[in-house]
């Protein structure tokens, strides 16, 4: 069998070029070269696989020129047509982790080439990309290089050879939010009793099924006097002024928009549209009130049912937007609304 062809991505530091002062170097393709941690990978691969090229890029350069550099690297990888792409490991280096996650996920999604990376669980790149690409869990510093390479090598070969990938806890990758069955060593009742003993003793234990994200917030008191209250509209349905002036992405939105509806009594085709990519946009484009009910609230304002409709509304796109980003937008929007003296919010989602 022919050797499995691997392309390896690393940053300027692991390429031996330099630290922070060299973080702005542009992406370089080193065909036929094995650099830095690539050596250890190659040794680990033995006769089964080999690195055919190494791509090096400065962390700042990558993160500041993300679209251009991504396109450039994807072009190289397409040309090289490897069986597998490996990025990192990045350990706890934040920008390096984000770069590894970004490029590994792009290779997998856009080129359909198997792709993995490795990093520490708290690296910001982990949360951003663990559901898009296999991220092997490593220690938080390069002192864990040997263990990381060993783990990644074993996984890489298994993956490249189309062997069945087990559950995350078996094969050492970060859980992708997909439930995978496997046989444990102990039966469930024994695991339950052991877990209870640990819980009773205040010792750490790991639940086998983490509940969906619970971040409980005490409900706020109800609105007492609706007739004098200022109500604001917020939507994750992506309603934006015609032309999408802020270029809010149709999915995985990187920002939210703040728009004025001062004097607007009805949203129509000529003035508003949706940026949301997760649903059929026709109905919302025809009449954005179907997502953001400005028309009705204006009527209610006039009739005195509510005090006032807040003159600004906020929009983002719920589709594929990372929990962390959504949280950030929510906090920022909340701050602005409170500062503007808003009493309550109607949030609409699709």
């Amino acid at each position: 069998m022919a050797k499995i062809k691997v392309v390896h991505y690393i940053n300027q530091f692991f390429a031996g070029i330099g630290g922070e002062e060299k973080a702005d170097i542009a992406a370089e393709l080193h065909k036929g070269e094995v650099i830095g941690p690539g050596m250890a990978f190659n040794t680990g691969f033995g006769e089964e696989a080999e690195i055919i090229a190494t791509i090096v890029c400065g962390d700042s350069y990558f993160n500041e020129n993300i679209d251009a550099v991504k396109a450039e690297i994807l072009g190289w990888v397409r040309e090289l047509a490897p069986d597998l792409f490996i990025a990192g490991p990045a350990f706890n280096a934040g920008r390096y982790g984000v770069a590894c996650g970004t490029i590994a996920a792009a290779v997998k999604e856009e080129l359909g080439i198997k792709s993995i990376t490795g990093m520490y669980v708290e690296n910001p790149g982990a949360d951003m990309y663990k559901d898009k690409v296999y991220i092997l869990e490593t220690k938080d510093s390069a002192a864990g290089m040997r263990a990381a390479v060993k783990k990644m090598t074993a996984f890489a070969l298994k993956y490249a050879k189309d062997e069945k990938i087990g559950a995350s806890c078996e094969d050492g990758y970060m859980n992708q939010g997909v439930r995978v069955n496997f046989f444990e060593k102990e039966r469930g009742s024994k695991r339950a009793v052991d877990m209870l003993i640990a819980k009773l003793a205040g010792k750490p234990f790991t639940t086998e099924y983490p509940m969906p994200d619970f971040d409980r917030v005490e409900p706020n008191p109800a609105v007492k006097d609706m007739a004098h209250a200022t109500i604001a509209l917020v939507t994750s349905g992506g309603i934006v002024p015609k032309g999408n002036p802020d270029h809010i992405e149709s999915s995985s939105a990187s920002k939210f928009g703040e728009y004025s509806i001062e004097g607007v009594t009805d949203l129509d085709e000529s003035t508003f549209e949706t940026a949301h990519g997760g649903y059929d946009p026709v109905y919302a484009n025809l009449d954005a009130d179907r997502v953001l009910p400005v028309d009705v609230l204006r009527d209610l304002e006039k009739e005195g049912v509510i005090g006032k409709l807040h003159e600004k509304y906020y929009a983002t796109v719920g589709n594929g937007t990372a929990v962390a980003s959504a949280k950030k937008y929510g906090a920022e929007i909340g701050k602005r609304l409170v500062a503007d003296g808003v009493d309550a919010v109607i949030l609409t989602s699709t």
């Binding site: 649903y279 109905y283 009527d299």
Partner: protein
């Protein structure tokens, strides 16, 4: 998003079509909306009817904002 707005001190009513578990346990007040492409509308209706429907949903949302929510509600006979 809901949680962060609540955390900022604002009572929030969330109007949405699907009520994922993660939201339902925190969002105090949810009004299930009509269908995904148009949570507050129904293109099958004529303009006036559709607006009446939307008004009903918005009224419901306002009503929810005026209802105190306690931590745990119990089903009562």
């Amino acid at each position: 998003m809901v949680k962060e707005l609540e955390r900022a001190g604002l009572p929030v009513v969330h109007v949405c079509t699907v009520t994922p578990i993660s939201l339902t346990v925190v969002a105090n007040t949810i009004v299930p909306a009509i269908a995904i492409p148009h949570p507050l509308g129904n293109p099958a209706l004529d303009k006036t009817e559709e607006k009446a429907l939307r008004r009903k949903l918005v009224m419901k949302a306002l009503s929810a904002l005026q209802t105190e929510v306690d931590g745990q509600k119990v089903f009562e006979d």
